[in-house]
């Protein structure tokens, strides 16, 4: 079922032969002015009253704006100082060739990862991921805890900072060691839990291209039924190491996810520009990274979170644009302000899942505590997002209904974003040996879930 890579070599060659451009002019003279032009031309406007906008015209205008912007700007390779450009026909061709679904994982654990529609009644594919680094001794217990989650269709493990007691340094042998430890321990955890073939996205510890390449192995390592990520540079830039990853993933034969997080308040400016850029990143992922799915985490420049009102709008509007106009598979990554075992983090997880699911995205949940504190993530935050995602699909919510609900959720946490509570570390709210949440966290979870039910969420079970 997986489609062949799209003209991979022709496109990669453009990183060597495309128009010359330096970094700063690329942003100042190409990126920023072009974005401004399309925002105005297509009349894109953020509406604070509708974090989940219900307007098809807006979604379609966003798509048009993003295609035009992407064709105008292209993607800069910062190593060669060349711009990879595309013409309209190529974009259409690549979109036409997209199958819209893939079987991922293996054996009884295989699942179909597919594109969703706006207001789709099919539940989202949910990838559980703590999105943070952890102590070496917590790695396996954390993996087991996440893999035990019933709603996990796929899993991405935490990141190691040390391997065999040595501090990992990127691009050195310690990174290779850490990456192997990551891949092997993860596989072992999946087997122990009884999900040996679950779809794995690995390995976050492999930050460099060599790290990634060293763990492709159909027995102990990352398999062709698994996936890895390739990022972009801020904004619409790539480098040779990223291209190495993209090329290797294709040649090895695993699934590639394009990892992009346009920054609200950064070069893209406000919500409108961030949303257009997020859609344009889907095209970069498809054409440059040759990715099978687009994993995205638009985030706030000061908070590193995606659950402010503006960022919920960005996620919702951009996913609607993609879902209505292409067969691309989107996976929406939640970045939450508060840390584990707080009420706030659960409301944030719910809001992110709701806005994403009703807008046509799958889920990748979740990065608590602004994605920057070691050990500060647990499966419970992801569980909340997954349960809400399933609920709002099964309820077949309209965007208008979803918007009413999301406003209620925002009312629960919006005023606390600037000084969100850090919450607990994994080992503080989990029984590490059993890889199970403490009664206290379970009770807190139940209270929030009951409150959500009271607000109108109908959980399937």
């Amino acid at each position: 079922m997986p489609a062949p890579p799209y003209k991979m070599w022709e496109i990669l060659e453009r990183a060597r032969t495309g128009p010359f451009c330096e970094d700063e002019p690329f942003i100042m003279e190409r990126f920023m002015p072009s974005l401004k032009v399309v925002i105005e031309k297509y009349g894109i406007e953020y509406d604070a009253a509708a974090p989940i906008p219900g307007d098809d015209d807006l979604a379609d205008a966003l798509w048009q704006a993003a295609v035009e912007f992407f064709l105008e700007v292209g993607v800069l390779c910062v190593d060669t100082h060349r711009i990879i450009t595309f013409d309209e026909r190529e974009v259409k061709e690549a979109l036409y060739l997209t199958p819209g679904e893939y079987m991922v994982g293996s054996g009884k654990d295989a699942r179909c990862l597919k594109r969703r529609q706006v207001e789709d009644a099919n539940p989202p594919f949910v990838i559980f991921s703590p999105d943070i680094s952890c102590d070496e001794e917590l790695f396996s217990p954390m993996c087991i805890a996440y893999l035990k989650e019933p709603l996990a269709d796929g899993f991405c493990a935490p990141i190691l900072e040390e391997s065999m007691g040595l501090r990992i340094k990127a691009k050195t042998p310690t990174e290779l060691a850490g990456s192997i430890e990551h891949a092997m321990s993860l596989r072992q955890a999946a087997k122990l839990v009884g999900r040996p073939g679950i779809f794995l996205v690995a390995a976050g510890t492999a930050e460099s291209d060599v790290g990634q390449i060293s763990i492709s192995h159909s027995d102990w390592g990352v398999r062709t039924t698994d996936s890895r990520l390739v990022g972009g540079l801020t904004e619409l830039k790539i480098d040779n190491a990223l291209l190495n990853k993209a090329a290797h993933y294709q040649q090895f034969g695993c699934f590639t996810g394009s990892l992009t997080g346009p920054i609200y308040g950064g070069y893209a400016g406000r919500a409108e520009g961030t949303a257009i850029l997020q859609v344009a990143y889907h095209l970069m992922g498809l054409l440059v990274h040759q990715a099978h799915y687009q994993m995205n985490f638009p985030f706030h420049i000061h908070y590193t979170s995606g659950t402010t009102r503006e960022l919920l709008w960005v996620a919702s509007a951009s996913h609607q644009a993609v879902a209505r106009n292409s067969k691309l598979i989107s996976v929406s990554n939640g970045f939450l302000n508060a840390g584990p075992a707080t009420e706030m983090v659960l409301y944030e997880a719910a809001a992110h899942a709701l806005a994403s699911t009703v807008s046509g995205a799958n889920l990748w949940e979740a990065a608590p505590a602004r994605n920057k504190h070691k050990n500060r993530a647990t499966p419970m935050e992801a569980r909340m997002a997954a349960e809400v995602g399933h609920a709002c699909a099964r309820m077949n919510l309209s965007r208008e209904e979803a918007n009413e609900l999301v406003l209620k959720l925002l009312a629960k946490y919006e005023d606390r974003i600037a000084d969100a509570p850090l919450g607990s570390e994994f080992q503080e709210c989990y029984d590490v040996a059993k890889a199970a949440p403490t009664q206290e966290y379970l009770d807190l979870y139940a209270r929030v879930r009951d409150d959500l039910a009271g607000k109108g969420f109908e959980f399937p079970y």
Partner: protein, 221 residues
């Protein structure tokens, strides 16, 4: 006076051509170049503060910084003639360490330093430790700023300091470190001169450091 206000406004609004023309005009009517630069500096700092308060975003700040540079072009020749006694800001070489491609935070720090009057050489991301030092020597920098966003690239900051020591150059540069996982403790452990949690603090710390006089500005070579 009117002219000066318009000039400051053009810079704050990021209108580079207008800023250039108005600055030319200011020099033509023989305004005091120092006074003009002071007013512009105040204006651009205000833009930096607005960014911190989230009233403007990165594009506006970048355009303002560029308009500031444009405005300084016609003023510079006059300034050089009477530059004695001017407050001296430092020269900074900044980059993200080897293996690390996270660069937006570093870029914001670079920009805010620039709008506050430092000369800034931004080496980009994934920069080898020795390259920081070579470049710092080349441009006679006072300050080396190293950003690391991953625990696995933080050793790159340490390497800069170790190589400086081994080259006998440690005292010559003020080394400031930053980035999400970097803490005051880490800065102390590796023997950095300072750490800043965000761009605004970095500016304050480095202004202070320049007054105390570490680096080329303070040493006689």
């Amino acid at each position: 006076m009117e002219l000066l206000e318009r000039l400051v406004e053009a810079v704050e609004d990021g209108k580079d051509e207008e800023a250039f023309a108005l600055a030319q005009g200011a020099m033509a009517v023989k305004m005091d170049p120092l006074e003009v630069v002071d007013a512009l500096t105040k204006g651009i700092r205000e833009v930096g503060d607005r960014f911190e308060r989230m009233e403007v975003f990165l594009p506006e700040m970048m355009l303002a910084a560029r308009a500031m540079q444009k405005a300084l072009e016609p003023i510079a020749p006059y300034l050089e003639r009477q530059s004695e006694g001017r407050e001296k800001k430092g020269t900074v070489v900044i980059g993200t360490v080897e293996g690390d491609v996270h660069e937006i935070g570093k870029h914001i720090v670079a920009l805010l330093l620039e709008v506050n009057g430092f000369s800034v050489y931004d080496l980009g991301s994934d920069v080898n430790a020795l390259d920081f030092i070579k470049r710092a020597q080349e441009v006679k920098a006072d300050i080396i700023g190293a950003s690391a966003l991953m625990t696995t690239t933080m050793p790159g900051q340490q390497e800069i300091i170790e190589i400086l020591r081994d080259m006998g150059l440690r005292e010559r540069f003020h080394v400031i470190v930053g980035g999400t996982p970097v803490t005051q403790d880490w800065a102390e452990e590796i023997g950095a001169d300072s750490w800043a949690e965000n761009a605004a603090t970095a500016v304050a710390i480095l202004e202070e450091a320049m007054i105390e006089g570490r680096g080329y500005a303070g040493t006689t070579l």
